[in-house]
């Protein structure tokens, strides 16, 4: 074997390895970042109205029937009056319905949708079986920490929750 053939073989091996790594990397990224992160969604009224009191809960965190019930009872919204004018209410309700868990092709969204039995209409994300299953190991005293302050404060541990990112690798639980 000449030196040049050996060099050529080594070069081919390296190329094959690099290609294999590239392809599996792409597959890995597709699985994790394409499907674990909820799809990017936006609506100016949703951002302004919902976001003035609480963080922006991604529409794919609840099924359509839940959003429908929430949006039809804004005068008594978790103990507070969050009444909107009819046009704004309608626009936000349609936005939430369009991107709801049971209308999304996203894997995580589908799991959330499947975790709520037909006929059940959870009004809180924390009531879905999916949420309960995923947070089973969190002790009560952790939820009570000052930097967390309860189950509604997703961004305390999931910094990019408002962008639909609940990737386990990005979780930081404050002390």
């Amino acid at each position: 074997m000449t030196i040049s053939t050996i060099k050529a073989r080594r070069w081919l091996q390296t190329l094959t390895l690099a290609l294999a790594a590239g392809i599996s990397g792409a597959l890995f990224a597709g699985d994790h970042d394409g499907d674990r992160i909820l799809p990017p969604v936006d609506n100016a009224k949703w951002r302004a109205e919902c976001g003035s009191c609480h963080l922006l809960y991604h529409p794919a965190l609840l099924p359509e029937r839940s959003w429908s019930k929430i949006m039809s009872g804004l005068e008594r919204h978790f103990g507070e009056n969050a009444k909107l004018d009819a046009a704004t209410q309608q626009e936000i309700a349609e936005f939430l319905a369009t991107h709801a868990a049971d209308r999304s092709a996203n894997r995580r969204a589908q799991k959330i949708a499947l975790s709520t039995q037909a006929g059940q209409v959870p009004l809180r994300i924390t009531e879905t079986a999916y949420f309960i299953r995923k947070h089973g190991e969190i002790r009560d005293d952790v939820w009570q920490r000052k930097a967390i302050g309860g189950k509604a404060n997703c961004t305390a541990c999931h910094a990019d929750a408002e962008k639909g990112n609940f990737d386990e690798r990005a979780i930081r639980v404050p002390r």
């Binding site: 100016a44 976001g51 003035s52 009191c53 609480h54 963080l55 005068e75 103990g79 507070e80 009056n81 969050a82 009444k83 909107l84 004018d85 302050g149 509604a152 404060n153």
Partner: protein, 138 residues
């Protein structure tokens, strides 16, 4: 040609989000004052009544006290915080010049918050009192 250009220019203007035109706070205040005078012709807004409304506490069914100050803090120059952890920009115009400059927003929040804190609507007189007090804060 000219017509279509005009149409294009018009379309471009309309497609841009119209910036909310700020209304001077004094104008919003005068609106509430004149509404209050329809009820009582001698109405004059009161700084004292305004502050007292802000600090009026109600006991809730859960057994805690609720007042405007619960979320807005005792000092309207400070930022407040909602029960759901969101920052509320200061109420006092001296600390937040955009406050009380959008009539629809003012009505929306009086509507919601009076219902929550006082379990009723606020009167035009009360709204005038509150804004008058907040404008005296330097």
């Amino acid at each position: 040609m000219h017509k279509s250009m005009t149409a294009l220019a018009l379309a471009a203007c309309l497609s841009q989000a119209a910036p909310a035109v700020a209304v001077p706070t004094q104008e919003i205040l005068r609106g509430y004052e004149s509404e209050a005078r329809k009820e009582s012709a001698s109405f004059m807004p009161s700084v004292t009544r305004g502050e007292s409304l802000f600090r009026t506490e109600r006991s809730t069914a859960r057994g805690d006290k609720l007042a405007c100050a619960t979320c807005h803090t005792n000092d309207p120059r400070q930022s407040g915080i909602t029960r759901a952890h969101k920052t509320i920009e200061p109420l006092a115009p001296v600390a937040n010049p955009l406050r009380f400059t959008d009539p629809a927003k003012v009505e929306k929040w009086f509507g919601r918050n009076c219902a929550d804190v006082f379990t009723r609507s606020c009167t035009a007189a009360e709204k005038a009192d509150l804004i008058t007090w907040l404008l005296t804060i330097k």
